[in-house]
């Protein structure tokens, strides 16, 4: 396959970026998108150029590192996958592919396609945990009976890999789907209920401080989420946030 790539290049956070054109040939349809990027970088290095910086780690759709906005969608045209699981067979010979970083004020660009998603880390640190003594006296979580429906919902929420596709796809750069999943995965379980009030207040507060936009319920986040996190969790987050404010 021969492809025409338009890739966002930006030296660092201070510099101004632009879309740069690349041509790449002999791409196998069986390659993953990241492998195609590897081939491109090898070509750029051979020509003594600066390779395109992009995030990746596990390349198995688990870590949430890869973060490209491909042809107008986070993680590309396929659904329920991350960029590393996208294959070149999704494209046709001669296609032009636009590759951009996830764009949001709260995700500043570090270089090229690499963005700083530490805003998500800070939201997690503000309440996305349970305070349990792990000094050797920890009870086995399985000794506490949990109704199946809640266990399943908590598990579904916990599948969020924090990749940021929700923010990238939302026209408002809202992080509500991420925060709602992280709040719900704990609040649905008995161990997480104890700190549920403080958790939701702190996490929403941190989300707002990071400069994410407001949710307007377009539903784009759910559609583009590689794990298919449901909008149910946003409605649940809204309920929990109001309840927590009344309690406090």
């Amino acid at each position: 396959m021969k492809l025409y790539l338009k890739i966002w290049r930006q030296k660092n956070n201070k510099s101004k970026g632009s879309m740069i054109d690349y041509e790449i040939d002999n791409i196998s349809p069986d390659m993953s998108f990241l492998e195609m990027m590897d081939v491109l970088n090898e070509k750029i290095i051979e020509e003594n150029g600066d390779p395109v910086a992009f995030d990746h780690d596990c390349r198995e759709g688990i870590c949430g590192s890869c973060s490209m906005f491909i042809n107008g969608e986070p993680h590309g045209p396929d659904k329920l996958i991350t960029t590393c699981q996208l294959h070149m067979r999704k494209f046709k010979d001669g296609d032009t592919i636009y590759i951009e970083p996830f764009r949001a004020k709260a995700f500043p660009i570090i270089k090229d396609l690499v963005v700083d998603r530490s805003a998500f880390d800070r939201i997690q640190q503000s309440g996305g945990f349970i305070s349990i003594n792990t000094s050797g006296n920890t009870l086995d979580a399985n000794t506490i009976p949990i109704e199946k429906e809640n266990a399943d919902k908590a598990f579904d929420a916990a599948t969020c890999i924090g990749c940021g596709a929700c923010v990238a796809s939302c026209k408002n750069s809202s992080a509500m789907l991420f925060v709602s999943a992280k709040v719900s995965q704990f609040s649905l379980l008995p161990q997480g209920k104890v700190e549920a009030t403080d958790r939701v207040l702190n996490m929403v507060n941190q989300m707002d401080e990071e400069g994410f936009g407001n949710c307007t319920n377009t539903g784009a986040c759910h559609v583009e989420c590689p794990k298919g996190i449901s909008l149910d969790y946003i409605a649940k987050l809204n309920r929990e946030y109001v309840k927590a404010n009344i309690k406090k």
């Binding site: 906005f69 107008g72 636009y98 026209k171 949710c215 319920n217 539903g219 946030y241």
Partner: protein, 222 residues
């Protein structure tokens, strides 16, 4: 509670509540207006009641005006904040692959509705205030129907009204279902809520269109 209304979730709940309030108002406005199609006397009676009842005039009407202003101002503030949240736009953004056009363009439909409201106020509310509180003319309980059909004699006005109702429809289709989501409605009801949103969002503006066109064509040659 102060924190609640300064938060992003609080703001969207406030938007949803004001939106639901305006939907209730719109419904009663439609129910009164539709009577003009089949009964001049009922329409006059209801309009006279709404125009002269102190509870409606001095309590509900100011609340409605505050609700309208709040909904619009909040809408503009949220839109401005949301634009700030992505200072550099995407070169290619395929919103149609993941969301409805109406949900992504509430600000545009909102601006058209705001422009329509200016025209609507100029057409009905301003003359009403002038009649009652500036010129202080003697109350005539039978004047409302005549005033209504007089307004719908003008084809340009009828066209503008119908165009605005199309944008109102686009706004309501997303607005109603979105407000229930903001208010935390359990999503097991989302399928039925979406159907109600479509039915309401299309039905009510279509009904308003029908009223305008009905009076235009009924009194076209008179």
């Amino acid at each position: 509670m102060k924190k609640l209304f300064n938060s992003s979730i609080g703001r969207k709940i406030a938007m949803a509540l004001s939106g639901v309030f305006l939907i209730v108002f719109l419904t009663q406005h439609f129910l009164i207006n539709i009577t003009s199609v089949f009964s001049e006397s009922i329409f006059n009676m209801l309009s006279h009641f709404m125009g002269n009842n102190p509870l409606v005039q001095f309590i509900l009407q100011p609340i409605l005006i505050v609700g309208v202003i709040f909904h619009f101002v909040m809408g503009f503030v949220l839109d401005w904040q949301n634009r700030k949240a992505r200072p550099v736009k995407y070169a290619v953004y395929k919103g149609s692959r993941n969301s409805m056009f109406v949900s992504r363009n509430m600000i545009i439909s909102g601006i058209v509705i705001l422009s329509f409201l200016a025209l609507h106020f100029y057409d009905f509310w301003v003359p009403e205030m002038d009649y009652k509180y500036i010129q202080v003319l003697p109350e005539d309980p039978d004047r409302y129907y005549e005033e209504l059909i007089h307004k719908f004699e003008n084809p340009v006005r009828v066209g503008l009204y119908c165009l605005s109702f199309i944008f109102l429809s686009l706004h309501l289709i997303h607005g109603l279902s979105s407000s229930t989501q903001s208010l935390g409605t359990n999503n097991k009801y989302s399928s039925i809520i979406n159907k109600i949103s479509y039915a309401f969002g299309i039905g009510i503006p279509a009904g308003f269109c029908f009223i305008a066109l009905f009076h235009f064509f009924m009194h076209f040659n008179t």
